[in-house]
């Protein structure tokens, strides 16, 4: 990412956070950077490990706090694909998650115009929705056939 882009991103980050009474701290920036740099839907644990490389004193509690803050202000989404650890995804476009039940890989697929319209039950105020598609990724499906 260019410096210009990065500065713009930080401005956005700051604006988003402060609107909700939250603050932009070096740790939150770092956690967000980690998510942006490698969009492989890491768990909190993985974010922690990656963030420590640049910021060795960051703690697990802070990673959770940062992730929660980012989720709260709409910069990151929380993704629950299996029993166990929650994953985090900085892609805020409408998309669904494809999860390989064999190897655990996750990837995003954008939702285009006519796909995936969820019903709008009366009275329910929709905030957002998550679509998780389970199955076998191309590579694991190929292996199975052998």
């Amino acid at each position: 990412m260019s410096l210009v882009e990065k500065n713009k991103m930080n401005g956005d980050l700051n604006k988003r956070l402060t609107t909700g009474g939250l603050r932009l701290t070096p740790q939150r920036q770092q956690v967000y950077d980690v998510l942006i740099q490698k969009r492989d839907h890491p768990t909190a644990e993985e974010v922690f490990i990656r963030a420590k490389q640049a910021m060795p004193d960051i703690s697990m509690a802070t990673v959770y706090n940062c992730l929660d803050a980012l989720v709260q202000c709409g910069l990151v989404r929380q993704v629950q694909l299996e029993r166990g650890a929650t994953r985090f995804c900085p892609n805020m476009e409408e998309h669904c998650h494809y999860y390989c039940d064999e190897c655990g890989t996750v990837f995003d697929v954008a939702l285009t115009g006519n796909s995936a319209v969820v019903p709008r039950p009366k009275g329910f105020k929709i905030d957002h929705y998550e679509i998780a598609v389970h199955g076998l990724c191309a590579s694991c499906a190929a292996k199975r056939k052998k």
Copy 2:
């Protein structure tokens, strides 16, 4: 449920399980009954508590084993809506889950013909998908307005 229906259900249960080398045991039947009797998307813990009423000696490990067996043979689906406990749902029709972020209520809405078509990325072999809609239920949304 009538006795006839129940017997039919058990036959189905048995067939489904045995096809995958699994067995129909009293515990699995009990766990399945619990799910059918109150379809409020209970957690494993809640299933455990309810199952104990009819079968006091059932253990938590068995509840997990039963739930996993039922999920594996396609009679129950696992639902991940938030951080924390997994929920279980015996409704195998295509539907999505509406989750109230305020009070935690969950309800199903059937997917009708034109709604929710997920993309089919090349090579990925889809097994099933889960749609979780987050927001405020009618009652909580109304309270908020006040």
